[in-house]
Point group: C2
Chain length 334, copies 2
């Protein structure tokens, strides 16, 4: 059976298929299918096809119980990239600033350490994880839930192009397949399948990221969940994961340990002015707005503004809606 | 050997003793010790003594490997209170608003369900846990790290008095013993020892609450840690606990389950006006200040203020420094 014919037939019939269906319809389709012409057309469009039966198909993905017939791919990287140590980072589409900051930090630090960062190109956590990996000059793979020729969501077309420059965009769906809600859980098994570890950053109850985590757990892969406040709906799913077998992620080093990668020692803390250091210590207790900081630390508006700018430039504090939060918890040296 | 003489001798020599020391000094002290007069003096001062060897000594506490010689107590409750199902709630002294809200909610809900809430009368998490239990009209026990006649910290004298009205203040230290840093880890073993489960709400790295949790784990008791943001120093210790054997606490019901107590179904969500409902949904994604809320939800100042007041009165949102946060994450019904 031609796996490419199967993928093309699935696209033709708008269905999800990983094994050849019985019956005359597929048999007829396969008889008429011109594989060489199809491949030539893919090639003209800068697309590649990696069938499941090829030895080069990623070992991690072929191992799952419902591996796709193959993967379509676009991007500058060799397909061998899909066989390297990889971590999936997934989570809520409408994430919080906290989730955005953490996803980006993890994408950056894990890619910098040499892991391939796999995610789903979605808004929110997925996008931030991809962006973090790109910032680090690292490699990242986006797995689509639609045809390989589409960028979904459209708002992430530019991001998909940047991912393609050094990494890969992949899909089990042939060109022309429209995005549809029912394809996303199927897409999630590929995200989990390509990675040896999956990190859930923020997840509401009963969300797609939890499906990815469940699939990873079922396949015996390592699953990390990032703890969040129990008063936040965006952490209900991820905190619940902590109760059902996921490991609490407290820093990128926790993931690297799983891969046997020695984390680099953290960069020396930036040399901060006295007001900036006091503000940072305060924000590490809890995020705050400028007014509350000025009051608590008895700083005048000018000194406060200067110190906050200093902290943002040093990359240790982020701001959103006039509200400042630390980008990492400093730990005591061991 | 008189356990009371031992406790009095420890106070006299400013030492920590759980078994009679060899040597002449204690022997002489014990020969001269007038137990009857000592007990009469305690009684005059409204204090009681419960020696370890008495059958009424709490079973949970006698079971630990270094049980105290006995407990001094003050308060209106029967000493039998110390033998009832109890949960310890401990955490950082300089806690965040998040920690304060969660400690108070847990104190309230666990006491309302009939558990005795045990803590250490300290500032921060301890105090909020005691206050929550009192708000619920429940029973709470404060364990001191100083003599039973002291209130430490002094700022919590009033709280100690309110605890005494229906509950108990206890200490292994006789009247006159001054608070000292080295006594607090010893005090923590009594907090953990009196309880069948210990909850850590917020804990910095290498903090007293982690000592309490370790003692509880060593004694095979259940330990819960409340997840917090990995960018907050106050959650470094509690999140780390999640990696080392503690169970993630996502609601009071998680603790009640351990005790085989059926949690009451949560109260029906309050009937909120449309602006209030929109604000709450927004805050459940992430805490925010009034300005950001007004902008995001396009509410004018008057409507916003009215809706925020409505949310605070309904008990679903708390405010600190102009910053609003939800008091619980609403979940989908199962």
């Amino acid at each position: 059976m031609s796996e490419l014919a199967l993928a093309a037939f699935a696209a033709h019939t708008d269905s999800h298929l990983i094994t050849a269906p019985r019956g005359e319809r597929f048999a007829r389709f396969q008889r008429d299918f011109d594989e060489r012409a199809y491949l030539a057309d893919l090639d003209r469009r800068g697309l590649r096809w990696l069938p499941r039966s090829l030895p080069g198909f990623p070992r991690s993905l072929v191992a799952i119980f419902d591996a796709p017939a193959g993967l379509f791919a676009r991007g500058q990287a060799e397909l061998e990239l899909l066989d390297r140590p990889a971590v999936a980072i997934v989570g809520a589409r409408s994430c919080s600033s906290y989730g955005a900051d953490v996803a980006r930090m993890l994408g950056r630090e894990l890619a910098a350490a040499g892991l391939v960062v796999v995610s789903g190109l979605a808004r929110g956590i997925d996008g931030h994880a991809h962006r973090g990996a790109l910032e680090a000059g690292g490699l990242t793979v986006a797995v689509l839930g639609c045809g390989i020729d589409r960028n979904y969501p459209a708002a992430h077309s530019e991001l998909a192009n940047r991912i393609s420059e050094h990494g890969l965009v992949v899909s089990e769906y042939a060109p022309g397949v429209e995005p549809a809600p029912w394809r996303f859980p199927a897409r999630n098994r590929i995200i989990a399948g390509l990675a040896q570890a999956t990190v859930v950053v923020e997840a509401r109850e009963r969300s797609g990221a939890l499906i990815t985590a469940d699939l990873a757990l079922e396949e015996g892969r390592e699953v990390f969940a990032v703890p969040g406040e129990i008063t936040a709906t965006l952490s209900v799913g991820s905190n619940r994961l902590l109760r059902s077998g996921a490991t609490a992620l407290t820093s990128a080093a926790d993931v690297l340990e799983t891969f046997g990668i020695e984390p680099e020692s953290p960069p020396a803390p930036p040399d901060l002015s006295d007001p900036a250091a006091r503000i940072l210590a305060r924000l590490e207790v809890e995020p705050a707005g400028a007014d509350a900081l000025a009051r608590a630390l008895e700083l005048d508006a000018g000194d406060l503004a200067a110190a906050l700018t200093e902290l943002e430039l040093a990359g240790v504090v982020s701001e959103r809606d006039g509200f400042f939060r630390p980008l990492a918890a400093r730990r005591m040296s061991p």
